[in-house]
């Protein structure tokens, strides 16, 4: 955890510096003492830098705090979670290309199989169920627009 806390501190400081850099061309205080566009982002930036330093000090002054705590960001099970996110991104792209019905009919069984379901018919049934229920509630009951294929727009 100590290593990651140091990374968090560094990222906080860098984020603060990045905001200061990005807001360099925004208007500052005018001649009447009225704060401009970069006033609030600057406050946030200095807070990021200050908190990063406090985080560094916390790690430095209390080295034994959270020493037993481990952070798992790369084990096999965590990689499965990243894979789920990656499959979701593909689902997002498929939503754009093929629309809600086709994309969801492909996504739900894929995720279901990815999570260990071995009965293909159960996955297919779930996919049809999810598409049906969401379509009925979102499109028919609540009149919400569902993603449509770019080819049909």
């Amino acid at each position: 955890m100590k290593k990651y806390n140091l990374v968090v501190a560094a990222v906080s400081v860098l984020l603060g510096l990045l905001i200061i850099y990005l807001s360099r061309n925004l208007a500052g205080w005018d001649e009447n003492g009225v704060p401009g566009e970069n006033y609030w982002p600057s406050i946030i930036a200095y807070l990021f830098v200050g908190l990063g330093i406090v985080q560094f000090l916390e790690v430095w002054l209390s080295p034994h705090k959270n020493i037993d705590k481990t952070v798992d960001l790369g084990s096999a099970v965590v990689r499965k979670a990243y894979l789920a996110a990656f499959v979701s991104v593909i689902y997002g792209a498929l939503l754009t290309a093929a629309g809600f019905v086709i994309a969801t009919l492909a996504f739900v069984p894929t995720m279901n199989l990815l999570m260990g379901e071995r009965r293909w018919w159960a996955s297919a049934l779930l996919a049809v169920g999810v598409v049906g229920v969401i379509y009925v509630f979102f499109a028919l009951v609540f009149n919400t627009t569902l993603p449509t294929s770019v080819f049909f727009e």
């Binding site: 955890m1 990651y4 968090v8 906080s12 984020l15 905001i19 990005l22 807001s23 925004l26 208007a27 009447n32 003492g33 009225v34 704060p35 401009g36 566009e37 006033y39 609030w40 982002p41 946030i44 807070l47 990021f48 908190l51 990063g52 406090v54 985080q55 916390e58 209390s62 952070v71 798992d72 960001l73 096999a76 099970v77 499965k80 979670a81 789920a84 996110a85 979701s88 991104v89 689902y91 997002g92 939503l95 754009t96 969801t104 996504f107 739900v108 995720m111 279901n112 999570m115 260990g116 379901e117 779930l126 999810v130 969401i134 979102f138 609540f142 919400t144 627009t145 569902l146 993603p147």
Partner: protein, 510 residues
Amino acid sequence: MNDILSAFSVVFSFNAMLMICLGTLAGVIIGALPGLTVNMGIALLMPLTFSFQGMTGILMLLGVYCGAIYGGSISAILINTPGTPASAATILDGYPMAMKGEAGRALGLSTTSSMFGGIFSTICLILISPLLAKVAVGLSAPEYFALAVFGISIITSVSSQSIVKGLMGGCLGLAIATVGLDPMTAGFRFTFDSVYLMGGISFVPILVGLFAFSQGMISMEDNFRGGENRKVQVAIKRILPTWLDLKRVFPTQLRSSVIGTIIGAIPGTGGDIASYISYTEAKRWSKHPEEFGHGSIEGTSAPEAGANAVSGGAMVPLLTLGIPGDGATAIMMGAFMVQGLSLGPLLFTEHPVEVNTIFIGLMVANIVMGCIGFAGLRLSTKIMDVPRRVLVPVILTLCAVGSYSVNHTMIDVFVMMAAGVLGYVLIKLDFSMSPIVIGIILGPMAETNLRRTLAMSNGDYSVFFTRPICLTFLVIAVFTLFIPIVGPRIWAWWKKRSGGPVLSQANSPE
């Protein structure tokens, strides 16, 4: 009077009642499923409400809010796993009751107590909030800035693991809120010539990503860690509590409801604190303290009444001052904003029908929650058996569809996914999601009023210290900010000085 009648006609319309019932049912299901939180439920269903006209969507969210707090008790009693943190104290006596073959009795009492707590706190909300709003109606820019700072200061209280990381999360939320048009000059900030960013980053996809998508990823991980659902193995017989039981737990319900309402009204606290304090007080005042921990009916009723009373209490600062008390109310505040309702003292004078609709809607949601609780208890036990491999695809699909439905743009879907992955990593690093939401929601309010004040005073900061109400809020904000940091150290020092056992953060068993 006309406002109240109009509000009644809104709440008791077919559509609104249907949505309250559906929202409450969804809330109970989400609450009953361990791992799915109140915040996630509200975030996931919030985009759905934008298609509704008027207050119907808000009423649905009130149903989700009430239902989810209550739903946590079902899994706590039946499978010894709290559905929500607020139900953790219910396990202490609810599960032993179930083990003794009294699962139905425990569920009946928890349902009655939840309904009692919710209705009691709603009555308090109706009585207190108009008075508080009258006091607050004369506030101007400096006071609003101080209020926003007060709201942001609760970040230290809602940060579960690390206060510094909680504050960093808050800053992240504030930074996200700066993207887009400058609120004073309408100039572009951090837009990088992107048309999408010119309107600012839509906060709904961020909320859905942080609370729901990240939860989907966590459930995916849990699925492979072998943590499959625990099965309900107790028989449910009689559900309706007997008159004798009700008579015995009534003082406990009343006491716990008062505790829950007061705790709910304090920003930064929540149902978990209310339920534990209610439980402790119930044991202290009980004529049968020896039964606690072994299946006491008072021990089962107290946490539920306390936790559900938080719902009405939390609405007091939200409606009167525009200050969200926790993550759930922060998300609700976002829903109010999307519906064009700006929360705060002016809400009571400018939107009296809407305010009364919220009052009546919250009352009805609590009653519906009780009815659904009694009618659907046997169904709830089946829902808890739904495996994660079914839940995760459903959650992820709803995240995508919900994010899309706000602005009908796929960019929002990808923003949601990015926020979800970020949220997942941040949760692993001991960050809380609520501070980020509080930063996003209160950032514009703080910035606008700070700059407006400085423009009025020609850059003179002393204006914040010469106005009594403003100064009071700032002092409270400083206390709220530092008490979670300094408080445990003072407590440890005091205990050490008085010779008692020291249990500080540094040497606690955790």
